[in-house]
Symmetry: C2
Subunit: 574 residues, 2 copies
């Protein structure tokens, strides 16, 4: 197994030189925050990364109706909670250690890159806890907060059903009110990550279900807390609830993550409690869903970054035709592309994480987060997968063999393009809801930010690339105008046909912009830097140029495609 490596220079550059997150933190200084990151990085290297390949090889199994997770995860998860990593960026009054969201994004990224399947357990538990802290009743919060913070209990989100995949509103699971104020839950959910496992003593399922007489579609859905073991009044575990794992899926990857089919109420004895108001299930679930979508983006970003580091390590050690792989132009091209894309995604992910911190002072920032969430989710998961594929390619035959852990990136990263709403759904959300529904306001604001960077004097160093981005923005405006007209004519199919391509178009330009902004910062420092830092700053400039040449250039074709008035596919027959 190759040595775990983090590009700490680039991490610190993003957080402290570019975003300057420490300027908005009161209790912790730059050095403290760096120390936290270094400490977590060591933890990842020593505890989380070593469980990556074992988790892939051992997978999960059902024994005596109980799902068993690889032992390597048990040890790592225990240490994860004990060392306080779960508590990071949680409120102090529940035992958390407050930290900027960008730090949480980063911590999650380091862990996820090193072991995606493992990090899903605490990641989803945290998202479930956050939802309950925001929307749960006092009683619910009192019951679950302590045990979930301590890592005794985990959490899941239960949306998908056999006939209701993307189409969540088609949910058939029923919740019938009982006399005691609770609900009797009945239905089958599939593809539930961590749906059953032996890592936690109890599991808090957040379940979408329909109350009797509820309206059809998503408007009739309510959210329920259903625990694996019932919870007594005093908070102790009661009898087992009527939730049975009826199947675990064998999958392409994330073998260490238990993907369960859960049957609620097979014996008519499944009890749940309402979370928030009746019929507000989908809005409430979206609190968790949006977090999960951002984590999908991080899955792509983080695996790409680690895959790049391991590939670089391999290339440095391997020679062919009497030359190191790095000296072969075709291999060098692949590695430079991998680096620029991986770092671009890191920039996007941390920029978005930082928006959460900014949103506390300026609620308008929420709209930018909403706009960027589907981009983070879809663009980073698609691109993360592509970088993983490149990692296999540079490794050649060794990349295809399991023992080196490289092809695992391909298998583990693919799922992020599918779950929490397929990338096709993300593109529809992006165009229809995040752009057209608010008349393109948030999009205009983002484009104004980009234009401002382009016209800054320091951008003049890269006039070709700045011109390229400017042309892309013009095309982008043309596409928005076209979409606006189609929407006015209620010709929505024409928009939907191109939404995936437009999301990629936007992802390319947003990433190019962030890399330009970072190149400007790097350029301002390269002159007075130490030799080592000089090399790093130069690499940031190189990333920007490489990205424009190899990725942003795709936007030429994408614009031609989307602006072509024909949209002939709509009239074609399959």
């Amino acid at each position: 197994m190759a040595k775990y490596i983090t590009d700490t220079k680039d991490v610190f550059f993003n957080l402290f030189e570019y975003l300057k997150i420490h300027e908005n933190v009161e209790d912790l200084g730059e050095d403290d925050l760096k120390e936290v990151i270094r400490e977590f990085d060591k933890f990842v290297e020593n505890e989380i990364y070593p469980a990556r390949i074992p988790g892939d090889l051992e997978g999960v199994k059902i024994e005596d109706k109980q799902v068993k997770v690889t032992q390597s995860y048990h040890k790592a998860l225990k240490a994860y909670y004990e060392n306080g990593w779960f508590a990071l960026a949680m409120e102090e009054d529940i035992g958390g250690m407050p930290a900027p969201m960008s730090i949480y994004f980063l911590i999650n990224s380091l862990g996820t890159g090193a072991n995606t399947a493992f990090m899903m357990y605490p990641g989803l538990s945290k998202a479930a806890l956050n939802l309950l802290l925001a929307k749960g009743s006092q009683q619910q919060k009192e019951a679950i907060t302590g045990p979930m913070m301590e890592g005794r209990w985990g959490g899941t989100m239960c949306l998908t059903e056999p006939e209701a995949g993307s189409d969540v509103g088609n949910c058939k699971t029923m919740a019938r009110p009982l006399d005691n104020g609770k609900y009797n839950i009945n239905g089958v959910k599939i593809f539930i990550s961590g749906g059953d496992n032996d890592l936690y003593e109890n599991i808090i399922h957040l379940v979408l279900a329909r109350t009797p007489g509820a309206p059809e579609g998503v408007k009739g859905l309510s959210l329920f807390l259903v625990s694996k073991y019932k919870i007594n009044e005093d908070g102790a575990l009661g009898e087992i609830n009527d939730v049975i794992c009826t199947k675990i899926e064998e999958k392409m990857g994330i073998h260490g993550s238990a993907t369960c089919e859960l049957s609620f109420g097979e014996n008519n004895n499944c009890e749940g409690t309402l979370v928030g108001e009746e019929f507000e299930g989908i809005q409430n679930m979206f609190l968790m869903m949006n977090e999960a979508r951002l984590i999908c983006g991080i899955q792509g970003e983080s695996q790409a970054n680690l895959a790049y580091e391991l590939t670089k390590q391999y290339a440095e050690e391997r020679s062919q035709f009497g030359k190191n792989l790095l000296e072969h132009p075709d291999t060098k091209r692949m590695l430079l592309k991998m680096r620029s894309m991986s770092r671009a995604m890191r920039a996007l992910s941390l920029y978005t994480g930082d928006l959460f911190d900014k949103a506390q002072k300026d609620p308008k920032v929420e709209e930018e987060i909403a706009l960027l969430t589907p981009v983070c989710k879809a663009y980073c998961s698609d691109r993360g997968f592509e970088v993983s594929v490149d990692a296999v390619q540079v490794h050649g035959g060794y990349g295809y063999c399991t023992e080196y852990g490289i092809e695992q990136f391909v298998r583990d990263s693919k799922i992020a393009t599918i779950y929490e709403g397929t990338n096709g759904i993300q593109a529809i959300d992006f165009v229809m809801r995040k752009i057209l529904k608010d008349n393109g306001e948030s999009m205009k604001n983002l484009m104004a930010k980009i234009t401002k960077t382009l016209s800054s004097p320091s951008a003049g160093n890269w006039s070709n690339q700045v011109g390229q981005i400017g042309k892309v923005l013009q095309n982008g405006q043309g596409i928005l105008d076209k979409f606006g007209k189609s929407a006015q004519n209620k010709d929505f199919d024409n928009i939907l046909l191109h939404s995936t391509d437009f999301l990629r178009f936007c992802g390319n330009v947003i990433c190019a912009w962030l890399l330009l902004d970072q190149a400007i910062e790097a350029e301002s420092k390269v002159g007075n830097a130490s030799e080592e830092d000089k090399e790093y700053y130069q690499s940031k400039i190189d990333d920007f140029i490489t990205f424009c040449r190899h990725y942003l250039v795709e936007n030429d074709g994408l614009a031609t495609l989307i602006l072509d008035e024909s949209s002939q596919e709509l009239g074609m027959k399959i």
Copy 2:
């Protein structure tokens, strides 16, 4: 498991309406050839396809130093030989059944799409036999032809060594002459497909090795026949040879194919015989290598075609949001793209197969085959992988689960981009050897063919697309001029930096051309066709338009990238 489906209409259109292969066959008419294809297709459905998922799940194992292959393959392989499929397109005097090469390409494609790992055993055996028939001594041919034709003996190609992957010339395996005219073989080969297995009684390894005092590099390599069991004078199996399988690789996919590390001569008792002349090993091996490269292309093409058919089947049966998946524009877009790309690759592959038949009358055609071989290999394996990824995406969560057999396409198809020379190596071969080395003659001839089609009156129906291809050809000429200049200045790194992108550029335009040529044929028939045929002919026109809109359009960006004079990556540091 989804039902196996072949797009027989498109297969027949390619062979009999477009290529008109029956016009050059003496003994068999169009109906006879169609009957052969239908019969083989049934065989694939009943024998080869059912072994696909079992082979993936069971893989291969070593027991008592013997590699054991899944039982499902044993049954299918026996039937494959017994039914005469191995003998197809082989010479009559050795018990073959002569047929056009395009028919062999097709047969191989149907089997490979349905079960790639399985088809590698007879595929490589056939390639080894063909090499020996062309270059072996009379004695060698007499010894191996019968048993290999009957399927009692199989064959392998042994090139790769731990330090010599792409860099074959770095081969360390030694062949020292013995007194009896044979050679003592000593060395380790890795990644040998079918290197050991229990499907065959004996295995004929074709091994590159170096004789004492041989020149360095590929020029010093000679080719040897090394059999698993020594062969007695009377042709019977003798004692076991000193070839040991020391490891089987666990891989991302093609689990049913045994990928072996072979140790030759650990006990100094490994005997081999020279094939062809000393120092002509690499040229001779290339006879087999070129066949294997074309099969890599077929692996991409064929898996894409079957993945498309299964995905279409799934989409037809699945509804979301009250509408069939086919009616959702984003899903429809994916399926139309998959179809146009899969069929484009089929057109390319069968066109190339047909060139082999044409080459018998016109040796100049050999050059076109040489030019297209790296395109078939790299373009079809890359694109086949991409279509497989799309198949998973349309299937959503189900696509990611093993039991449906869809993610297996992704895992099984990826290897074709790596083995038999990585796609990076193909691109270098394409640009440096196949284009620059003959001053672009074959490329010019191919471009003339394309131009001729563009200027045919029937192409006028698609003036936009014809204009698009014309512009692409201009850009292509510009790139060739740039490469020519770089070559004159011995600035080869500048060419090598862009060879992969240029191969993709050319693959796009060659496929667009073939689809246009086929659309012209379809357009001429759609008016007088039956309803069912009309729908098919219209789909060929739709494929062409879809391909231009979604794939050929990439060439805008690719041309910008390659024609950009900066090539700044060469000066960057990783």
